[in-house]
Symmetry: C2
Subunit: 587 residues, 2 copies
């Protein structure tokens, strides 16, 4: 139906007769002539109709924005004066000879050029129009090329693409499962997989050796953050490997993809222990572009009278930190108030600070509402440790360690970027040596998942679960967890000990994970792997604001699709067939 794509036409096509298909992007009438900017996947080209070509002109006169046309015409160079260097096809235009209107279009509910003015709701309802914006299309072209590059890299490393089931067994991995009632086994349910974790481990038991999959995963969580009920992982697993193998394979993959897609040479990824990351950055996914650090000062504070500091300083679960912001002395009262509000989101009860105006002037040179509560020794210690200079500002956090880490960790990133302190475009790293378990309300929870191999043997794990480290590793980029993985447990004894620590008894383990425990009995190889969040990776690499920007048909924060109006009520007959009914009080 066409000889060329619109956006491909150049001065070299001068004189050629071309047949194009596309949408009317813009239409102008000027000096008795009609100008149409015609758009297809490749871009725009200007097509001109003058009244000499009677029929074509008459038809061109009828068309409106977003009409779908087939056009024939001759490419000609534009006059020097009207060439458009901002348009790839700006050196030429097409003199239209004939037009066919392939389809008409109603006026779109929002202007494609002024999308930002339209609310997200209307853009999601008419997603197919929203996706017509060239920048949207580009993100999906990028995504397609990225997955291609990932596949090519992994297949080059001997990884096999294997599909694992979507209709699977409910295996609680932390998040809530989506359930699917079974018709043939009434009263029973499938679950959509939170990840292909157990299947890929069993593929290792099967001897597949190197597996990968670009896999859909499902979690029925509250979508407070930038999450989607279904998301996509680059999932891989290999046998007869240790941490270094998986980290080398995946680091090489990410480097190769950054080089291919963005022409960026990433540096070798530094490795940092979880302990160090939490201590210096208050986060297990630190944004290393920001040079600010959290500095422990509890030992300086435990003697002060100020309870806000002294309390957490004496609490074994407390933490007191200082964070120096170079040049932060010019922060206004209002700005500091806003940062105080910001840390409040994370539960911090306030945000103490000291402005360092003039170190030579002693206490006179410092400006702070809390100065009077601190000992001279504490003040000197803080200045020494933070290395604060004239014109700097020191923020303080004092509370339960979790709150301090979250609040000051987040503040660090916010202040760092807002104050222009961040350096470089890309700061990747590996975080390693995670604890096996987190304790909450007297119970242990797996920090990664229950199939992660500990660094110690089963006896040590039993005697000191709290101190046990895992063989897990996270790849972090610019403060975002790009992927996480671990060496897995491959012996049934070890798996049972971990289940026990998590409060999963033998019977429950057998019921829920019997097939995994069976698999481990019949000759499971040592194995490990990693899973990347593909949506997040594409978002970071394309500079999107949300993963919704890189998902063709995303759901809203309440997990609904505004375009198709899903989920929707279903008639009773359908429910009866699968043996369920809606609860009365929800009807």
């Amino acid at each position: 139906m066409r000889s060329h794509y619109c956006g491909d036409l150049r001065a070299s096509h001068d004189g050629e007769t071309v047949r194009l298909c596309g949408w009317v992007h813009r239409r102008r009438d000027h000096g008795g002539v009609i100008f149409l900017d015609v758009r297809d996947r490749t871009g725009l080209v200007q097509v001109v109709f003058d009244p000499d070509t009677e029929d074509a002109f008459a038809l061109a006169d009828k068309v409106r924005g977003e009409y779908v046309l087939q056009l024939e015409g001759r490419v000609r160079l534009r006059d020097e004066a009207v060439r458009n260097p901002r348009m790839a096809t700006g050196d030429i235009e097409v003199l239209g000879k004939s037009v066919t209107i392939l389809n008409e279009a109603q006026t779109p509910p929002f202007e494609l050029d002024e999308y930002s003015a339209a609310g997200e709701e209307v853009r999601l309802k008419y997603r197919y129009l929203d996706l017509r914006r060239p920048e949207a299309l580009k993100r999906f072209q990028f995504r397609s090329r990225l997955t291609h590059a990932v596949r090519a890299h992994l297949e080059g490393q001997g990884f096999m693409d294997v599909e694992t089931p979507i209709l699977t067994r409910a295996t609680p991995e932390g998040a809530r499962d989506y359930l699917v009632p079974s018709r043939t086994h009434a009263g029973s349910f499938f679950a959509l997989p939170q990840s292909p974790q157990l299947f890929k481990q069993l593929l290792m038991v099967a001897g597949f050796d190197r597996y990968y999959q670009i896999a859909k995963c499902f979690r029925d969580e509250d979508l407070r953050a930038d999450r989607q009920p279904e998301f996509t992982q680059i999932d891989l697993e290999a046998s007869f490997v240790e941490e270094d193998d998986i980290m080398a394979i995946t680091e090489a993959m990410v480097k190769s993809v950054f080089k291919d897609m963005l022409e960026v040479d990433l540096p070798e990824f530094p490795r940092m222990t979880y302990e160090e990351a939490m201590r210096r950055y208050g986060s297990d996914k630190p944004d290393l572009r920001v040079p600010l650090e959290l500095i422990d000062v509890a030992d300086l504070m435990d003697g002060v009278e100020f309870k806000v500091f002294a309390g957490p300083a004496k609490d074994p679960k407390g933490r007191v930190v200082a964070m120096n912001v170079p040049g932060g002395g010019d922060l206004s009262r209002k700005e500091i108030d806003e940062y105080t509000k910001f840390v409040g989101i994370y539960g911090a009860k306030g945000l103490a600070y000291i402005k360092v105006n003039d170190l030579a002037a002693g206490a006179e040179g410092l400006q702070s509402p809390i100065l009077k509560f601190l000992t001279e020794e504490a003040i000197q210690g803080i200045l020494a440790r933070t290395g604060a200079a004239n014109g700097d500002l020191i923020f303080f956090g004092a509370d339960k360690a979790r709150i301090v880490n979250e609040a000051i960790g987040a503040l660090r990133v916010k202040v760092g970027h807002e104050r222009g302190l961040a350096k470089g475009d890309w700061a990747p790293l590996w975080v390693v040596d995670f604890p096996m378990f987190e304790e909450e309300d007297g119970r242990y929870y797996a920090l990664h998942h229950p199939f992660t191999m500990p660094k110690c043997d089963p006896e040590e794990l039993k005697s000191n679960p709290e101190g046990a480290l895992s063989r897990a590793y996270d790849m972090v980029l610019n403060g975002t967890e790009l992927g996480g993985g671990s060496i897995r447990i491959h012996r049934p004894e070890m798996q049972r000990v971990v289940f026990e620590a998590l409060g999963i008894g033998d019977q429950e383990a057998e019921e829920k994970f019997g097939f995994l425990l069976d698999g481990l009995k019949y000759g499971a190889p040592p194995h490990g792997g990693l899973a990347f969040g593909l949506d997040r990776m594409v978002m970071l690499m394309t500079g999107g604001d949300s993963i919704r920007d890189v998902i063709a048909f995303p759901k809203t924060q309440t997990a609904a699709c505004l375009m198709t109006d899903a989920p929707s009520p279903v008639d009773n007959q359908q429910l009866r067939e699968v043996g369920i009914q809606v609860r009365k009080d929800d009807k």
Copy 2:
């Protein structure tokens, strides 16, 4: 953990020290020496332990089948006399120096070598062991390489890989939907997609121009045939195209894939109308390897007294056919009885035949229980039309056309293959010019789906829906539908007319497909596409018996996973969260 894969070792490695990892495939003790065949993804290698290497020998002595080992040893040439030409590594062996037992293994519930003796049930329960069979692994390696080849081909043609949602709206496409209760919208349900049909059409409306996806699809059907509740399609769609474009693109893809994967040069695919396929082969997916054909003889039979023939011959919905089987004269009574039973499956009430012993002898030379019922004219007509020769056998079918087509169509394939009449390995073709609708119980059903473009305009369709042909095309290979597609409706008026013909009124259309109708209003381009059944394609190409052979973790005929025991009961709390309960009578 290893220096080489087992199956890669060759005479050229002679003298090298290697470190291997793998499973004990077989173990023999012979002359005081232990022989282990060690297996990994690449194959087997023989490792020998003699008592001189004390520690290694002692450990090797402990190992049993399917233990997981890491071994070090030296490659050496085998003596000429004991080289094994059937083994890729048969020229060498590894003299074991050290062994580490990475994991023990219980005795598997079935012998991996004698898998055929084990029932499918036990093999599915221990699927990870079943997949250890080298022929199983090979199928999945093939599948991975095939999808790679498909992706490379399509991306080379400008197709973008775009993911469409799995949690979507229930949109009845013929089969039953799998439902997913929504927690955030209690009483509402998502459905798993039967195909990405509407999403890919809307991607065309969005101007994506060329889309593809290797997509999971879901149908909650009764799994009588070789079907799975979830299966995989190679799904594609393009804009500004006609039938010939899509057929050329996909035919080239299949040819290129056959060449890459099997070194097979497929011929140009012939095109056959639906009408011709049904008439000559009784099937819209004829196996063209079989040269037998159905020959209409109703006009010869409408005068005979035999009601079995005369009835259908006079019925406008009846059909009477003859099918000549060259050399079929040697079929025994027992064989013919079995074929009679076979056509009974399709509803045929009998299977008449004539054996042609000696044409020169007239009626004397024919042998048949029905001869006496036929007129001389009919007999002569049948012989002339079928071109039967001495030694042939002519089968007859007479009934409603649907039954004749199904019964004699299936018999044709069965007899053709059993009698060695099939020619060639691969017989592809296109079937085109399908009717738009099938009529059943006074209602019309879409033969493809309701979004298929008719060959006629809306007015013609309204006045003669039964006679309308569609712009659909199926790719058929060896009697299997490999893929099907069509040019789609891109104008809302036409879509409404088709919905009307299907008995879907404006209100219902708006409710169920409002988003598609909206999309068509805002400038939808002409577009079309095709979807291949990937599982079936891999099965055909690898010579599998069932699509279960090419799905890593398949479901049984009752849609259950014997390995994970899915589906399974779920506790009430989980059901309450998603606002449903199991119906009392199903509990």
